[in-house]
């Protein structure tokens, strides 16, 4: 425990803000990509305006911002396979799962079969998932 080697904690990254307008979404993604190298048990949550981060067809040319939305589809390569989107947050914004990118990972225990890593969950269930975590970082 002294140097943290071999310790696996449940880390949860909660994304609650729109992808553009503030830097939180982009800098959250930077944390997640670094965190993936630490062999911890990672979950991502998208709720409130954070659900907009995963929408398809983002076009940022007119606001002069870098479109980083394609990076989310690489999360599977970082072995991040638990991505929870709050159903009520989608509905409150007139969105559904069809508006979101399909996020996949390859399951090494199942002959590298491609599987969904994005799960739309209800608020009650999400509360339970968050309750199980050791470390929560909210952006």
């Amino acid at each position: 425990m002294e140097n943290g080697e071999g310790v696996v904690k449940k880390f949860c990254y909660i994304n609650r803000k729109a992808p553009y307008g503030t830097i939180y979404a982009l800098e959250s993604l930077e944390v997640v990509l670094i965190a993936a190298a630490f062999d911890q048990d990672i979950s991502l949550v998208f709720a409130d305006d954070g659900v907009y981060q995963l929408t398809k067809g983002q076009a940022t040319e007119a606001i002069g911002m870098k479109n980083f939305s394609k990076t989310y589809s690489a999360l599977g390569d970082y072995d991040i396979k638990k991505i929870y989107v709050e159903k009520e947050s989608l509905e409150e914004r007139g969105l559904s799962a069809e508006d979101l990118q399909a996020l996949k990972y390859e399951d090494e225990d199942d002959d590298w079969a491609e599987k969904d890593s994005l799960f739309v969950v209800e608020r009650d269930e999400l509360a339970g998932i968050i309750d199980e975590q050791d470390v929560i970082l909210s952006f």
């Binding site: 943290g4 310790v7 904690k9 880390f11 830097i23 939180y24 800098e27 930077e30 944390v31 670094i34 965190a35 190298a37 630490f38 911890q40 050791d134 470390v135 929560i136 970082l137 909210s138 952006f139």
Partner: protein, 130 residues
């Protein structure tokens, strides 16, 4: 208990730095350990030595530096967030060919891995920000 602290907002605009400072002082007073204070997002602006707040106001950077000196706190400023916002130490100044550096005493610049390590090593990771 061993605490990791995260400060995600800049000084003065937002209360998060004040609240974090007060939390750290209270925790130390109660005999707890502060594993690290990690400054991210605009929180990196807490580490500038160039702030000159009015004399009748608190100086948050000086308070952090003073606390670090007194208690050996590890104050870490995220390198990527700091580069974006113009917070540089001497090394970074040289690396990027800049004409000045402004990292306050007691702070050091390092990577996001320091935040993850803080989460692993601490009993509780406490975030100050929105």
């Amino acid at each position: 208990m061993k605490f990791g602290i995260v400060v995600n907002e800049g000084p003065y605009t937002h209360q998060s730095s004040d609240s974090a400072l007060q939390f750290v002082k209270a925790a130390l007073q109660k005999g707890h350990e502060i594993f690290r204070v990690f400054f991210y997002h605009d929180g990196v602006n807490n580490g500038t030595s160039l702030g000159v707040p009015p004399q009748d106001d608190r100086n948050l950077t000086l308070e952090w530096s003073g606390l670090a000196e007194k208690h050996g706190l590890d104050l870490v400023v995220c390198v990527a967030a700091a580069q974006r916002r113009g917070i540089l130490d001497e090394d970074e100044m040289g690396r990027h060919g800049k004409s000045a550096n402004n990292l306050a005493p007691g702070f050091r610049i390092s990577g996001l891995g320091q935040l993850i390590e803080s989460g692993i090593q601490s009993d509780r990771l406490v975030t100050f920000g929105d």
